[in-house]
């Protein structure tokens, strides 16, 4: 295949990544030839595709490559650890350490034993850094690693696959119900310097098992930080997985992430993605329903202000008959913020009796805020129930008037209505402390902006 690459628009950072890979001994370590083969293919694919430019169909509303080129350069690829004694104090408010949960913390891509706390027994769940699992759980890892997230489909997945060295490996064995949630924190400490990290996670949810799993992203420090993450989730037959992705990022935080899910028969997967801040965030949530009688729920809330830009791309791929998927993404855009939503539903030939529903609702609070929303349904089967809808508007004037006639100030009435709008998504979070933390943050933001 030949590719025509416009020399002018080539990203400097892309070149830096390629050079870095070329010169890195560590990434070529033959310790695992399995991994090296993957890396080689991935960097080749990355070189072919390049970082997506503004004409790229999937990235045309999110100029992430330009933003990365502007904020990062080749020096940021080699990370020397600079100890930061204040870090613990600064991240503490975010960590839900005082609850009965498994806490796993990664700081600048490195597993932090010091901040982590595993409370579930190894019989119920295997939870360890991916680097360790590559050695200790070689067979299981090699069976599933990089099998779902396709390096051809997205340059950032290819990039991650070429560079990823650490992340979380989670395995819930057959029949185990993990009653203590797993809270994974990916923290970028940019106090001393710019930081680029590429965490890679593999979550194997065994047959007839159950687990709650949350990934949270924070940046500490004023320098720009970038996380390019890939999480692969394999939900086995009859398993239940509740997955949460929480982004309460810094003003200088850039994020690209792909969560790739494969569901087996009779499995249930619930995803809730909440983005409250950051510079530019792109979330890909790709779910393959690879069997019959799968059930999937995707909820999303992006509540943005200032210049935050959040882009959610979701794909649910009904490959076989009799599965159900439901999607609800809601956005509130204030100030100059920008939201992007693209929801694809594929119903493959033969995936009869599919039920697939999608809804995207947006509120724009200012003339400068914007949303680009695009539902995309591709249906090749003829006996299915599918629907989609997207709405964009302001706060309902009639509702606002009603509350004001009861004595509520205009701003209070607005806050109550916005909270209710957001609650529709937040109430799907089944991990109570996590839900309460988000409710608290949202209430504080409404209070600040609308004196609730």
């Amino acid at each position: 295949m030949t590719q025509i690459i416009d020399k002018q628009s080539k990203s400097a950072l892309q070149e830096a990544f390629l050079r870095y890979f070329e010169n890195s001994e560590k990434l070529k370590e033959p310790a695992s030839s399995f991994l090296y083969e993957l890396r080689k293919n991935a960097i080749h694919s990355f070189e072919q595709s390049g970082l997506p430019g503004h004409k790229h169909e999937e990235y045309k509303y999110t100029p992430i490559t330009r933003a990365l080129d502007k904020n990062f350069d080749s020096q940021d690829l080699s990370l020397e650890e600079v100890p930061n004694p204040d870090l613990l104090a600064r991240i503490k408010p975010w960590l839900l350490t005082n609850i009965d949960a498994n806490i796993v913390v990664f700081i600048n891509g490195q597993f932090s034993q010091e901040h982590s706390k595993i409370v579930s027994s190894p019989q119920d769940m295997i939870l360890k850094p991916l680097s360790q699992a590559f050695i200790e759980n070689k067979e299981l890892v090699e069976q599933h690693f990089a099998k779902q997230a396709s390096i051809e489909s997205d340059a950032f997945v290819a990039l991650n696959t070429a560079f990823a060295q650490e992340g979380l490996f989670l395995h819930v064995p057959k029949g185990k119900v993990v009653d203590k949630p797993v809270l994974v924190y990916f923290i970028n400490d940019t106090t001393q310097r710019r930081v680029i990290v590429q965490p890679r996670n593999l979550y194997l949810i065994g047959e007839n098992s159950q687990v709650d799993l949350a990934e949270s992203f924070y940046t500490v420090g004023e320098n720009p930080g970038y996380q390019n993450i890939v999480s692969e989730i394999v939900v086995a037959q009859h398993a239940i997985a509740n997955y949460y992705k929480i982004e309460i990022e810094g003003q200088q935080a850039y994020h690209t992430g792909t969560t790739q899910v494969q569901q087996a028969a009779q499995s249930l997967f619930n995803a809730t993605t909440v983005s409250l801040s950051g510079a530019m965030v792109r979330n890909n949530l790709n779910i393959a329903l690879d069997a019959e009688h799968c059930e999937t729920h995707m909820f999303g809330l992006y509540m943005l202000d200032q210049h935050t830009h959040v882009d959610n791309h979701t794909i649910v791929d009904h490959r076989l008959p009799n599965s159900f998927s439901n999607e609800l993404y809601k956005g509130i855009m204030d100030d100059h913020s920008r939201g992007v939503f693209n929801g694809k539903i594929y119903v493959r030939p033969g995936a009869q009796k599919t039920n697939a529903f999608q809804s995207n609702m947006n509120i724009l609070l200012t003339d400068d805020a914007s949303i680009d929303t695009k539902p995309q349904l591709e249906i090749w089967a003829d006996d299915v129930k599918c629907s989609h809808g997207a709405t964009t508007g302001q706060i309902d004037a009639e509702q606002l008037f009603y509350l004001r006639t009861r004595g509520l100030k205009k701003e209070q009435a607005r806050a109550i209505l916005l909270k209710a709008f957001a609650d529709d998504v937040i109430q799907n979070i089944k991990v109570k402390p996590l839900r309460e933390q988000l409710e608290h943050i949202i209430a504080a933001r409404l209070e600040k902006n609308y004196q609730l």
Binding site: E398, Y402, R404, T405, R406, G407, L408, K410, A413, D424
Partner: protein
Amino acid sequence: MLTIKNLKARVEDKEILKGINLEVRAGEIHAIMGPNGSGKSTLASVLAGREDFEVTEGSVEFLGNDLLDMAPEDRAREGVFLAFQYPVEIPGVSTTNFLKTALNQIRQHRGQDPLDAVSFLKLMKEKMKLVEIDQSLINRSLNEGFSGGEKKRNEIFQLAMLEPKLAILDETDSGLDIDALRIVANGVNKLKTKDNATIVVTHYQRLLEYIIPDYVHVLYNGRIVKSGTKELALELEEKGYDWIKDTTATTV
């Protein structure tokens, strides 16, 4: 308490109120009747502060203040309450959700201390009994999936909670069966004191069998064309609105 003088209002280019004059004193119940499109609901909305209507002329004085100059929330705090003809649905917001904030705002405005959670609950229980409304209803998303009767009862429940000086009931009887009508009317009657006043906006006389008005006004084509006592309502019921239309036609 309320003095309306030559009130004219329009929506876009259409003049709907064409010079309303009305005086309501404390302790009184006024009924405003009229055929569809006569401007009854517009009058109620203008008094509550709906911004879709533009007041072009006239004045409304409420307890010595210029009502038209106030934001809807300030009117509420001064003691005006509108029971909506079509109460809006608000998903995710229950009556209990916003009522505590609303009540405490109003109390603060009156120089009263805010109610704590316990006193608020106690007050709610008391008022719930008054309008025979169920706890589950006021905990549900406001008006979402409510029957017509439940919506109206919820309006009267809020009226009971907020204890306004002037209550405006905009076609509260529409869509109510006779039992619900009795309950709603009974609630309104129990809330009546010598210090507050009520304006009942209605198309039919039926509600006025339960809420006995001191005065009845007939609104037609944006003007009050006839005023009288409760007997006028009966006459109107008997003769129909055509009678009014005919009489006004001959006087013009």
